[in-house]
């Protein structure tokens, strides 16, 4: 800033900075405040801590409910992500080469699950699955989670395709590659960051999903969010803070991976455009 500021304006500027620090604190402190509590030696969820201990992690690890719910979440999340990624990537590839009204309509249908309130999706699926005997089954839950994750794959893959140089594919074909070869050796490497980010989004969606799960899960399909939901509603045991800390670390890890992928795509694109 080259312009000199009057004292009032400088005060406004500092006021703004203070306000923003407070808002960032509001966003972050609640989540961060849980982490030390999970290492509390006492069994009350209050500060000051009674001493350092990993007993709640031991609790999490040894309890008959937490660990099975974690493995349920991982299992359902992986299969749902696989389905969402396959279907979503294929659809994004098809949409990219379509035009006009069919493309718009299909795009809208594919993105709609993000817009429609989850509770409406959950109750509709419950009514349908109850008739098909799919409530309280892994299959029902996996299908529902795949549905919620697929839009993110369509979005991210479509975004990488938008910056995709079509002449590369034509070059490969004119040099004698079969369409399948051209896809595997040209298209796939280029859209891979989009596919992976989409898959991560889909997995995170499933891993964090609670509303549809509340409708569809039976006692066998307790996921980690469902276990936390019940834990919060009944009696908060400090083991829940251990679960929350673990989930938080997973989220931070996923944000990190997405950020790295984004930078990689940007770098590749930058290199491509400066090279041409």
């Amino acid at each position: 800033m080259s312009l000199p500021l009057a004292p009032v304006d400088r005060a406004l500027r500092w006021g703004l900075i203070t306000l923003c620090v407070t808002i960032l604190a509001f966003l972050l402190v609640p989540v961060l405040a849980v982490i030390p509590l999970s290492f509390n030696a006492g069994s009350f969820l209050t500060y000051p801590l009674a001493g350092f201990s990993t007993r709640w992690y031991v609790d999490f690890y040894t309890s008959a409910r937490w660990l099975p719910s974690l493995s349920n979440s991982l299992f359902i999340g992986s299969i749902a992500t696989l389905i969402a990624t396959l279907l979503g990537t294929a659809a994004a590839l098809g949409l990219d080469r379509m035009g006009g009204i069919p493309r718009q309509v299909l795009n809208a249908v594919f993105l709609l699950p993000v817009v429609v309130p989850v509770v409406v999706i959950g109750s509709s699926l419950y009514a349908l699955f109850a008739r098909l005997g799919l409530t309280g089954s892994y299959l029902g839950l996996i299908l529902a989670h795949a549905l919620l994750g697929a839009p993110f794959v369509v979005i991210t893959v479509a975004a990488t395709l938008a910056g995709f140089d079509r002449s590369l594919l034509q070059a490969a074909l004119s040099l004698g590659a079969t369409p399948l070869e051209a896809f595997r050796r040209v298209t796939l490497p280029l859209i891979l960051p989009g596919v992976v980010s989409g898959a991560i989004f889909a997995f995170a969606t499933s891993f964090d999903e609670i509303v549809v799960t509340l409708f569809l899960a039976g006692p066998q399909q307790r996921t980690l969010p469902l276990q936390m939901f019940d834990g919060v509603r009944e009696q908060i045991s400090p083991a829940i803070t251990a679960a929350a800390t673990l989930l938080f670390l997973v989220s931070v890890g996923l944000v990190g991976v997405i950020e790295l992928l984004r930078r990689r795509t940007e770098r590749l694109r930058g290199a491509a455009s400066s090279g041409s």
Binding site: L24, L95, S124, A127, L128, A144, T241
Partner: protein
């Protein structure tokens, strides 16, 4: 052929997700919404009675033949699921109907004989009342406006005219207004907190802005349940916030910050704030510093330049952020359920309640329809807004 083959392969690529969405998403929602105008239970249990009632003019009582048909059919479905479903449906209209119907079925004499109307009346005097039979007629399907009216706290009276339900049964208009009010408050608070932060982030050079943006993204990515748990730990009676306020001497007694509206608002603003910040930030990034600097070099003070130059240009971001937060808030379920009290439950809670606990799918469908309509209209507004501003930048 050369042109149609790639065309065909595009459709084949799109087809799997299309079929998947049609089966798991479009069809169930369509069925759910259809339920809001369907009334199959009574006709399934008493098909011939339903047909008789459809012919009845609604005056006095149905014909004696209709009553003896009803008795025959009642005897036939005794102890089955069908009578139970029909009884639930009638009970939703007139409370007490379920036990009356089931008791009547139990107490019917084995053999026919005498006046059908008299037989029914001897078991329960209400069978002699016109309103009992008009309620049955209203439920005899196959199409009904009962659930849609009920979702708006309306009903049809014995003469078929639309009227308000008695005040003690009117819940949904209040729930809709509460949902709207909570969503407006949450959107307002998110704008108040999100705007300054997005403004500061957009005005910083990328090497400061990017790490700070990650700090916004981390809570956005953190499980809603983790964040809700965090707020319960923080806001409870002996929680951190109360402890802090007491230590610095602001309060003597702990405040009730949870299981009430305050808690719901705090937690919902926390969850939805990133949805406000991200669109605001991307629009503000497009405005850049130039307009402000130009205004200031022409003699405007920074705050004045902000009000007259920057704020109007950021309107698109405000609109997009507000709509995004508002749409999400309208359908919110988990946070109010865990942090709210009985008086803080929003429309989603009732959709879940009527789906899971009382299995009144007609009402769940009607409430879903209203929520979907509201969400859809707002989303169209959002799409137009972001289309109008998106490519221009």
């Amino acid at each position: 052929m050369r042109r149609t083959l790639p065309q065909l392969s595009n459709w084949l690529l799109v087809l799997p997700l299309f079929l998947f969405s049609a089966g798991i998403f479009v069809a169930p929602i369509a069925l759910m919404l259809l339920r809001s105008v369907q009334d199959p239970e009574l006709a399934a249990a008493f098909p011939r009675t339903a047909a008789e009632l459809a012919r009845w003019d609604g005056q006095d009582l149905p014909r004696p033949e209709a009553m003896s048909t009803f008795i025959t059919e009642l005897r036939g479905v005794r102890g089955t699921d069908r009578i139970s479903f029909a009884a639930n449906r009638l009970n939703a209209d007139i409370s007490g109907f379920r036990s009356m119907l089931l008791r009547t079925a139990r107490m019917l004499p084995q053999a026919d004989g005498g006046d059908a109307a008299e037989t029914l009346r001897r078991i329960d005097a209400r069978w002699g009342e016109r309103s009992t039979w008009t309620a049955m007629r209203r439920a005899s399907g196959p199409v009904t406006d009962y659930f849609l009216l009920a979702a708006l706290d309306l009903q049809r009276d014995d003469d078929g005219a639309v009227a308000a339900v008695p005040a003690e049964r009117a819940v949904f208009v209040g729930v809709f207004l509460r949902t709207l009010w909570v969503s407006i408050l949450v959107t307002g608070f998110c704008l108040l907190l999100g705007y300054p932060l997005a403004y500061l982030l957009a005005s910083l050079p990328a090497r400061y802005a990017n790490p700070l943006l990650v700090l916004v993204l981390i809570p956005f990515w953190t499980s809603v349940l983790v964040r809700t748990t965090a707020w319960i730990v923080l806001l409870q009676r002996d929680g951190l916030v109360n402890g802090l306020l007491r230590r610095i001497g602001l309060i003597e007694q702990p405040l009730t910050l949870i299981y009430n509206r305050t808690g719901v608002l705090i937690a919902m603003v926390h969850v939805l704030l990133p949805l406000m910040i991200l669109p605001l930030y991307s629009v503000m990034k497009g405005i850049g510093r130039a307009p402000m600097l130009a205004a200031m070099s022409l003699g405007a003070r920074p705050f004045e330049a902000f009000l007259r130059v920057y704020l109007p240009q950021s309107r698109a971001g405000i609109g997009a952020g507000c709509l995004l937060v508002f749409i999400s808030a309208l359908g919110y379920y988990v946070t109010p359920e865990l942090i709210g009290g009985g008086g803080d439950q929003m429309i989603s809670y009732f959709i879940a309640f009527y789906t899971n606990r009382t299995t009144n799918w007609g009402l769940a469908g009607a409430l879903s329809l209203i929520l979907l309509l509201a969400t859809g209209l707002l989303y169209i507004a959002y799409a137009r807004l972001s289309r109008a501003t998106g490519p221009a930048r």
